[in-house]
Amino acid sequence: MTDDILTQRIFKMMAQLSVVRVPDIKMEHRLREDLGLDSVCSMELLSMLAEELDLDVPMEEAAQVTTVAGTVEMARRHLALKQAAAAS
């Protein structure tokens, strides 16, 4: 999956949980203040990442993410780790 496709998939998940539309989501946006995602919605987002990207990120690490960029970066890193593990 290219970075662009991954970013768009994550933006779509965020838009499902927020009133902000995909074209208006920016990497620098904060999940709570800019997308209006409270703690429950943020967990819902992580749940969608786990389901749709088949990811399992340690809870402590996931709980630290507060921005759009942080979410994308976390997903990218763990997908790369997963691919590396599969290749070895």
């Binding site: 927020s18 203040e33 990442l49 990811l55 399992d56 340690p58 809870m59 996931a62």
Partner: protein, 477 residues
């Protein structure tokens, strides 16, 4: 503040109630007589948690819960009216109000000349706050224009000030921030709707508000603009704490009435209290009531630690609302046929208690949230050897769900974990506060049941999947 002040206040409440508060009449007439509200104001009840600077008593949260418990023992509509004012209604103003905002509102609110309300639920946003549609947009002059609909606003019919949650795009640099706004319900465009007809709490006022382009001065915002989500969490902690206190009052009244009845009522040549089944049911009910009280006191004691307060009030809200309803139901059951008749006062106890499992966060949502919080930020197991087995049982349940974000998809398990957390917190509070042998017996019973709750098995996967699929297709058994 010590018992020197709270005890006499509680006695004054009981004395006042004897001559003035007629619970069955309040329920029947769907209103609290204005003279009762005036009398409660003269006792200082609307100012118990408000700062002394503005005429309040400056009492602690623990003291406030004792006041609400005393009121709820007498009448739940009255307790809800006062509790809502002290918690959701005024907490934001006390915590984040500017000096000017406090000076404007708090003196009359403390005196009971004005009553506060809180408006957050919407037609499409109940527990899901991210779905709020009410919006306040700032114009070039800095004034805000508020539009939206708010449902189920307690105290609406006689409120002088509303704290309203609304999305405030752009305010405070947040593209989609939420803010708490102070709104005068008599403002042009603030349209109050007719009183709701309810199953219980019929004396408390509940209406919807429609806001049609209501103009608000820039200083209508409470605290930092755009920080409403975090503020709301704290205000809800207070609301849930005082709601839980009301449940304790209901539980005590139900238990007392049930005990009186089973001593008097004779069946099969002996009093009902002589029956082993009745004894066991009341023994467990006593333990639950004690656990409710201990958990409320423990939660209120955490008033300065907002994170802990939030966690404990989530547990207390679900534990106490389920317990209060269960005890009201038990009181009816033990009264037999007479419990079903309104005049005994048991029916109104249960009807009043029913909504506490729904409002200020529906219990199923809160339990799932409590489970989620335990997954993401697990509480540390205490070293106390009496409590450790109970806490380890909850930890084992959590660890069985895994440590990664995949566990977030197991909602039914989160819900079960949340219930285990609520029982753990109640049993822990009871254990730590128990002094007398009877209280210690209550705590021991609660610990045993809490461990059982922690190890409860989920529904069997196969039949549950078949039934769920059938229900999704609209097939009823």
């Amino acid at each position: 503040m010590t018992d020197d002040v709270v005890e006499p206040l509680v006695r004054s409440i009981r004395d006042f109630a004897k001559g003035n508060i007629r619970s069955l009449e309040i329920d029947r007439e769907h209103t609290i007589p204005p003279a009762v509200l005036r009398g409660l104001g003269e006792l200082g009840l609307f100012g118990v948690t408000l700062p002394t600077e503005w005429g309040g008593a400056g009492l602690t949260a623990v003291d406030a819960t004792r006041v609400v418990i005393a009121l709820a023992e007498i009448d739940r509509s009255v307790a809800t009216t006062v509790g809502l004012h002290l918690g959701l209604g005024t907490r934001g103003l006390v915590a984040w109000g500017t000096r000017a905002q406090q000076e404007k509102w708090l003196p009359s609110l403390a005196a009971g000349e004005a009553i506060a309300a809180f408006a957050t639920t919407e037609p499409e946003a109940g527990s899901d706050l991210s779905a709020l549609k009410a919006v306040a947009v700032a114009g070039p002059d800095g004034r805000l224009r508020l539009s939206g609909t708010k449902l189920y606003v307690t105290n609406a019919g006689f409120a002088s000030v509303l704290t309203v949650t609304a999305s405030t795009p752009g305010l405070g640099g947040a593209a989609r921030g939420t803010s708490l706004l102070l709104v005068d319900p008599k403002s042009p465009g603030a349209l109050i709707q007719p009183e709701e007809r309810k199953l219980g709490l019929r004396g408390s006022s509940t209406c919807a508000f429609i806001f049609e382009d209501v103009t608000l001065a820039p200083d209508a915002v409470l605290g930092e603009p755009g920080q409403g989500a975090a503020q709301l969490a704290h205000v809800l902690s207070w609301g849930r704490m005082l709601l839980s206190a009301g449940c304790v009052g209901t539980a005590r009244t139900a238990l007392k009435a049930a005990l009186e009845h089973v001593h008097q009522r004779r069946q099969f040549q002996r009093a009902l209290i002589q029956q082993e089944v009745v004894q066991q049911r009341l023994a467990r009910a006593s333990a639950v009531a004690y656990g409710m009280s201990a958990l409320v006191q423990t939660a209120a004691s955490a008033e300065k630690d907002w994170e802990l307060l939030s966690r404990l009030t989530t547990s207390s809200k679900v534990f106490c609302s389920e317990g209060g309803f269960e005890l009201a139901d038990l009181a009816i059951q033990l009264h037999g046929g007479s419990g079903y008749i309104e005049d005994t006062g048991m029916a109104v106890l249960m009807r009043d208690a029913r909504v506490t499992r729904i409002f200020e966060g529906a219990n199923d949502v809160l339990l799932t949230h409590a489970g989620l919080m335990e997954l993401t930020a697990p509480a540390k197991v205490p070293t106390d050897e009496v409590l450790a087995p109970l806490w380890k049982a909850v930890t084992a349940r959590r660890e069985a769900m895994g440590s990664g974000i995949r566990a977030l998809n197991r909602r039914a398990q989160q819900h079960a974990l949340g219930w285990a957390v609520a029982w753990r917190d109640a049993a822990t509070a009871a254990t730590l506060l128990a002094r007398t042998p009877v209280e210690q017996a209550c705590a021991a019973l609660l610990r045993e049941e809490a461990i059982t709750v922690s190890s409860a098995q989920p529904l069997p996967a196969g039949p549950t999947a078949v039934l769920t699929a059938a229900l999704l297709e609209g097939v009823l058994p």
